[in-house]
Amino acid sequence: MCLGIPGKVLEFFDARGLLMAKVQFGGIVREACLQYLPEAKVGDYVIVHVGFAISKIDEEEAARTYKLLEEMGQLTELSAPVVEEKPTARGKS
């Protein structure tokens, strides 16, 4: 479970002072915290582990790693329920 899942940063937002982003994993978009990877930009590929981006990755490797994780059945954490809350979104590019 230490494996991170690669995804593409779509847009940033602020959640009560935390740097967050919407990140696309295959066909699924989920929120991730970018607090530990503040240098990431929109369009970058990042490795996300339990909702936190931990490092950057290039596009080709992201695609390959995603496919491998899919084959290994390691993408189940993405299907965990989304916890909704009133958004406090503010733009950041």
């Binding site: 230490c2 991730a32 530990y36 931990i54 490092s55 390959r64 290994m72 059945g73 965990a80």
Partner: protein, 371 residues
């Protein structure tokens, strides 16, 4: 099953195996300490591709597997309390304690919820001010920054109804414990890539020097594992013992400093029991005193629970690389992923569960084996 022909770069993989064969002059035992690597090795049959003299053994790299039975029993005791919302990563739901698993408790009426990210628990806590929200904080160093952030934010925002049951384990002390064992067979290690993406690999340098053992930080793709194995074998053949980094595209020697800093503000090192292995000194994290109001073990007074593990299971010896799943008479018979007896069978990343999933409990003629 996916074997060599489906690798991202078949020729590089073949050449790597050929090079291992060329330089290897005697048998070596190499251990990986990452559940993702274990899964990848078994799924792709990488151990079958290597020369027979290179034996891969599978270390305690799956945090779900090594979370002690005692902590799981504590988790269940808390989850059963009225007014508690017990949150967990999905992987822990089907891991049995002495009695049931979390999934069964949920079906019996306990409010057990799967979360994707630990900080999601804060949303649940804010939305349910009259409930006590508890998160089962398992994991290696990779997961610690995410769990630390949840507690840090809870204190910062004054969320008093959120606590965590900490079960954090650390890789370097486990490697040291394996090397200290008089029965140790392991001569080189594939280090855990994503753990080191967070922590860097400076901590591994004194271990490598002290025990004269090569440690190569390695990714989890098939080619990574073959390259990491080549780097370990090369060191062994050249009588070197160093920390090297195969996974340069993700891991830096210093790791992710921002993540480390928050981890150290929230957690401190403690002794920790590992399922199958027993207590390893200084091998876990616990919450620092300042965060005691978010410590579920203290708040729910479950410290008294003291569970002993069944003696039939040999997972402790498997996790130390002394034995393999096939050495256990219960493997694939009394012990299966549906009815696991011990650590290495409880999660897909455990050695026994991985062997089982890919047919290695079957007789040789029934099992799929790469050409």
């Amino acid at each position: 099953m996916k074997y060599l022909d489906e690798y991202r770069n078949e020729r590089v993989a073949r050449n790597t195996v050929k090079e291992i064969r060329r330089i290897q002059t005697r048998p070596w035992v190499v251990m990986e300490v990452c559940g993702g690597q274990t899964h990848s090795i078994v799924k792709h049959g990488l151990d079958y591709l290597l020369p027979e003299e290179i034996e891969l053994v599978h270390g305690p790299g799956c945090p779900v597997c090594v979370t002690s039975l005692e902590l799981i029993d504590k988790a269940h005791a808390i989850a059963r309390r009225p007014g508690v919302i017990f949150c967990s990563f999905g992987d822990m739901l089907r891991v049995p304690g002495s009695g049931a698993d979390l999934s069964t408790l949920k079906s019996q009426g306990a409010d057990v919820r799967v979360v994707y990210a630990p900080i999601d628990c804060l949303k649940i806590a804010r939305a349910n001010p009259n409930k006590k929200v508890v998160f089962f904080a398992i994991g290696f160093e990779t997961t610690a920054p995410a769990n630390a952030m949840a507690v840090w934010r809870a204190r910062q925002e004054g969320i008093k109804n959120f606590s965590i049951l900490v079960s954090h384990v650390l890789v370097p002390p486990a490697i040291a414990a394996i090397l200290q064992s008089p029965q140790n067979r392991v001569q080189g290690f594939l280090g855990p890539g994503h753990v080191c993406a967070i922590m860097g690999y400076r901590e591994y340098e004194p271990i490598s020097a002290r025990y004269r053992v090569p440690i190569v930080i390695t990714g989890f793709e098939p080619l990574d594992i073959l390259e990491g194995t080549l780097m370990v074998v090369r060191q062994l053949e050249e009588e070197r013992a160093e920390v090297e980094n195969q996974y340069v595209r993700t891991v830096r020697r210093e790791g992710n400093r921002a993540a480390q800093e928050l981890v150290w503000q929230v957690f401190e090192v403690c002794d920790r029991k590992w399922r199958g292995v027993g207590s390893i000194p200084k091998s876990g994290y616990k919450l620092r005193y300042e965060f005691r109001d978010h410590d579920a073990e203290r708040l729910f007074e479950v410290a008294e629970i003291d569970t002993q593990e069944p003696s039939i299971c040999i997972s402790g010896q498997i996790l130390k690389g002394i034995k393999k799943p096939h050495d256990c008479p219960a493997f694939g018979k009394e012990c299966t992923p549906q009815r696991p007896l011990g650590a290495t069978m409880v999660s897909a990343e455990g050695a026994c569960a991985a062997y089982y999933a890919y047919g290695r409990h079957l007789k040789k003629e029934e099992a799929t084996r790469p050409a």
